[in-house]
């Protein structure tokens, strides 16, 4: 059997139509909580469960950050994006091919619900601007900047640091291209501002975006959030 034939046999066309929706018993809230406590320790899990984290932008960074945080049992996730799922997103963003055309907020909420049925997920399908960010983010403890446009990144970081001196912002800059993974790092710029990425790989200059490298940066951001909640403020 050659590779292509084998591939055909394992494609979605040969799967039962409802293979993703297969009805199996979902663990109870208490079972999920016990499993998380077993992995993270009860004390730390309590901190995760009582946190509210905003994810601003639900693309390659934001959708992957949200998956990590949902798996960790963050109590309240606030998902914000104005955009819809596009076919060009699928190579690095946490959406299914069947979700093209859906609002990213709603598609991601559905995907996170399948992973973490009992966390609170709040969505805002809007474009974040200087005018609405104060109102939007007032209820969140930690804000993840996960935009793709450099000017929007700067706008959000400046806005949060200016208007909410008590909150933390975890931002990203420089994860485009296919350079070494080891260039991606987390820096503490101020006690409230953490920055992940290599700092230089611009999407307009590098050859595209690669899932693994964007996910690395998203993982840095998600880990920075978990560490802050754990009281670990150094990098």
């Amino acid at each position: 059997m050659n590779f292509l034939e084998k591939e055909n046999l394992t494609s979605a066309e040969n799967e039962p139509l409802n293979f993703l929706e297969e009805k199996r018993r979902i663990p109870s809230k208490e079972e999920m909580q016990r499993a998380l406590e077993e992995r993270h320790g009860a004390e730390l899990q309590k901190k995760f469960a009582s946190a509210s984290v905003a994810v601003c932008g639900l693309g390659g960074l934001g959708s992957n950050i949200a998956v990590s945080l949902a798996r960790a049992g963050i109590g309240r996730l606030h998902l914000i994006d104005f955009d819809k799922v596009d076919i060009t997103n699928l190579h690095r963003q946490q959406y299914a091919a069947s979700q093209i055309g859906m609002d990213k907020t709603l598609a991601l909420r559905k995907n996170l619900r399948a992973i973490a049925p009992y966390i609170e997920i709040v969505t805002d399908t809007v474009k974040i601007s200087e005018d609405n960010l104060r109102e939007l983010l007032i209820g969140d403890d930690i804000i993840c900047e996960a935009f793709d446009n450099a000017e929007n990144k700067a706008m959000l970081v400046n806005g949060v640091l200016e208007y909410f001196p008590e909150k933390y912002i975890v931002a990203a800059s420089g994860m485009a291209g296919i350079s070494s993974a080891n260039g991606i790092r987390t820096r503490k710029i101020t006690p409230r501002f953490y920055l992940c990425g290599d700092g230089t790989s611009d999407v307009t200059e590098c050859s595209g975006l690669f899932s693994a490298r964007v996910m690395l940066c998203a993982a840095h951001q998600a880990l920075a959030v978990l560490r802050l909640l754990a009281g670990e403020t150094e990098v």
Partner: protein, 64 residues
């Protein structure tokens, strides 16, 4: 001396706006902190770097 992004510079007396123009940085793409505090964009024209300041200018690049 003013330490900017880890390097000693002679930018004391310059405003944030003057520094950004001198170094070719687009003010819309940066966040500037001085002594661990963010400088609001509205104050770039009036905030003057002083001798002994430690400054970090974060220039954002696209991708996400």
């Amino acid at each position: 001396m003013v330490k900017i992004n880890g390097a000693d510079t002679d930018m004391a007396g310059k405003t944030v706006s003057e520094y950004l123009a001198l170094t070719g940085c687009n003010p819309k793409l940066v966040a500037v902190e001085r002594n661990e505090e963010i400088i609001p964009k509205a104050q770039y024209d009036t905030t003057v770097f002083e001798d002994g300041d430690t400054v970090e200018v974060v220039s954002f690049v696209g991708g996400g």
